[in-house]
């Protein structure tokens, strides 16, 4: 780990000023950044510790029914907030399907958005990686790439964004509030993360020195509360990143789907929302055929970036399954294995 200047910010303005300096990085929960520093992937000249900023630690319910999640709210605090979990159940489920209990106690909402890909070549400073080191190439293209992107990738980069939290956020039209030297602005979550194109190093829409202060979920997202699920396939039961994941939600009235949402995770460098798939379900009666059809639409443009063609079919099946689970209704209690297709119904045990 390189030596760095340590600055403890005592206000958002101070954090923005310190964070705008060349080589500065914001430190919040540290669960990703400290790890990257140990690997030598991140070598900040200055660490700006924002963990003392109380104003970023609140969950505020606004008068219009929307919720503002301060960027320093810890994953576990948000997921276990009873009203939040009832109102946006698939967001709570996604949070609890991620990482481990210890990490969820430290990792923050803002840090989740800004976490780096877990592509092994990005994390290995001896490898060529256009995302880490522009123009150096991409060792993943000819390497171990079975878990890499199948949508939105480019010849320059085939990495995925590893977040669970961001997947339902994209489905629910969440908004990211940021503050920089020029003031504050809002970025819809869908435009927050960027596809790699020929500049994979530019990962999100933040301008130099901008700080994520909050994430807002609009009030009308609560209309999906009765029919929503987040499902996540992993290579082991718990404590693993998604191979593929899906957030599915709908409003059903008189047996017909009034509105539907579908976003896929771990398939691209951003949560992959499919408005075409959502549109195909409107006015229809929930059925396996309908969900298969919609899931097929969501994956229509998918193509393997390496030895990962299986992910396309896997994502299609998981999306259909998530839609089906959502139509059946949100579980009354958080499943024992959140997000796991192995225990869709509370009470099922994966170990006899």
């Amino acid at each position: 780990m390189n030596l760095f200047d340590y600055v403890r910010a005592s206000s958002v303005d101070e954090a923005v000023a310190a964070g705008a300096k060349p080589g500065a990085r914001i430190l919040a929960g540290g669960t990703n950044l400290v790890d990257l520093m140990k690997m030598g992937v991140a070598e900040p000249a200055t660490l700006v510790d924002i963990t003392r900023l109380e104003e970023l630690k609140r969950i505020n319910w606004l008068s219009d029914g929307s919720v503002r999640i301060g960027s320093l709210v810890r994953n576990s605090d948000l997921a276990y907030e009873t009203h939040f979990a009832k109102t946006f159940p698939m967001v709570a489920e996604a949070l609890l399907s991620g990482a481990s209990a210890q990490l969820r106690n430290a990792a923050t909402a803002g840090g989740n958005l800004l976490q780096k890909t877990r592509c092994s070549y990005y994390q290995d400073v001896a490898s060529a990686c256009n995302r880490r080191n522009a123009g150096s190439g991409c060792d993943a293209r000819q390497g171990l790439n079975r878990l890499h992107a199948v949508l939105g990738w480019s010849d320059h980069c085939i990495a995925t964004h590893p977040s669970d939290f961001c997947v339902p956020l994209a489905a629910l039209d969440a908004v990211v509030e940021v503050t920089g030297k020029g003031g504050s602005r809002e970025i819809p979550i869908e435009s927050f993360h960027l596809l790699p194109g020929d500049q994979p190093g530019k990962e999100n829409a933040l301008e130099e020195g901008e700080l994520v202060t909050a994430i807002r979920i609009p009030a009308d997202a609560s209309r999906f509360a009765a029919h929503s699920r987040y499902l996540k396939l992993r290579e082991r039961t718990s404590y693993a990143f998604a191979v593929v994941s899906a957030a599915a939600a709908m409003m059903i009235e008189d047996g017909r789907i009034l509105e539907a949402r579908l976003t896929l995770g771990a398939v691209a460098a951003k949560p992959w929302r499919s408005r075409e798939a959502e549109a195909a379900m409107i006015g229809q009666m929930p059925s396996k055929d309908l969900f298969d059809h919609a899931a097929g639409i969501a994956l229509r443009e998918a193509s393997p970036s390496g030895n990962n063609a299986f992910k396309i079919e896997l994502a299609r099946r998981l999306a259909a399954r998530a839609l089906s689970a959502a139509s059946a209704g949100t579980p009354t209690a958080m499943p024992a294995l959140p997000g796991s297709p192995l225990s869709t119904f509370s009470g099922d045990a994966h170990v006899a």
Partner: protein, 194 residues
């Protein structure tokens, strides 16, 4: 090679107001943090901002019960409680926990009397080699305080998944956590009735 011991000043914990800039333009400025560790107030001077809470505990305070496994937040051997919450001390820079209450495995027992979670691990054979055990136990203490497992073995396994046991003593670990949850519920009931 002699082991260098740091003598810790016996001064009570005071709220140390730290200037916002501790390492400025590469110039080392000594950093003083105050922590309450297992009930003892400590003021510690750090010469380097890279020290993790794990290394501080093990190498500066000789609290070697907290183990270093992967040092990357993947194995859970370094689990401690910070202000009552279980976290991975290997991914926590010491300076970020200034002012916090830290509980390590050394802080659980009362004299010779084991903490109920420690006793449950013995009773249920929740270990083989023992290396991951302090982390498992601290994690279990955190889990019980969180109150989300409700005595359900599936939930216990899920909520303990951040602690890897290379010996594979998971069956005993799960049983131990369930026994400890049961004991805790009984104790709470008795306390409420009293």
């Amino acid at each position: 090679m002699a082991i260098q011991k740091f003598k810790l000043p016996d001064i009570p914990s005071i709220a140390v107001q730290i200037s916002t800039s501790l390492f400025l333009n590469g110039v080392r400025m000594s950093l003083s943090i105050s922590l309450t560790i297992n009930g003892d107030a400590r003021t510690i001077v750090l010469e380097d901002p890279r020290v993790t809470l794990l290394d501080l505990l093990r190498e500066r305070l000789q609290l070697t019960g907290t183990k270093k496994g992967c040092d990357r937040g993947q194995c859970g051997a370094c689990t401690v409680l910070v202000d009552g919450r279980r976290i991975n001390s290997c991914l926590t820079l010491a300076m970020t926990v200034d002012g916090a209450h830290v509980t390590t495995i050394e802080g659980l027992a009362t004299g010779d009397e084991l903490h109920p979670v420690q006793a449950a691990f013995l009773e249920c054979d929740g270990l083989q080699c023992g290396y991951c055990t302090p982390g498992q136990i601290m994690s279990a203490v955190g889990l019980i305080a969180e109150g989300q497992a409700a005595g359900d073995p599936e939930r216990v396994r899920e909520l303990m998944s951040g602690n890897i046991c290379r010996c594979g003593a998971y069956k005993g670990i799960t049983e131990a956590v369930l026994v400890a949850i049961e004991k805790d519920a009984t104790t709470s009931k008795e306390r409420d009735a009293a």
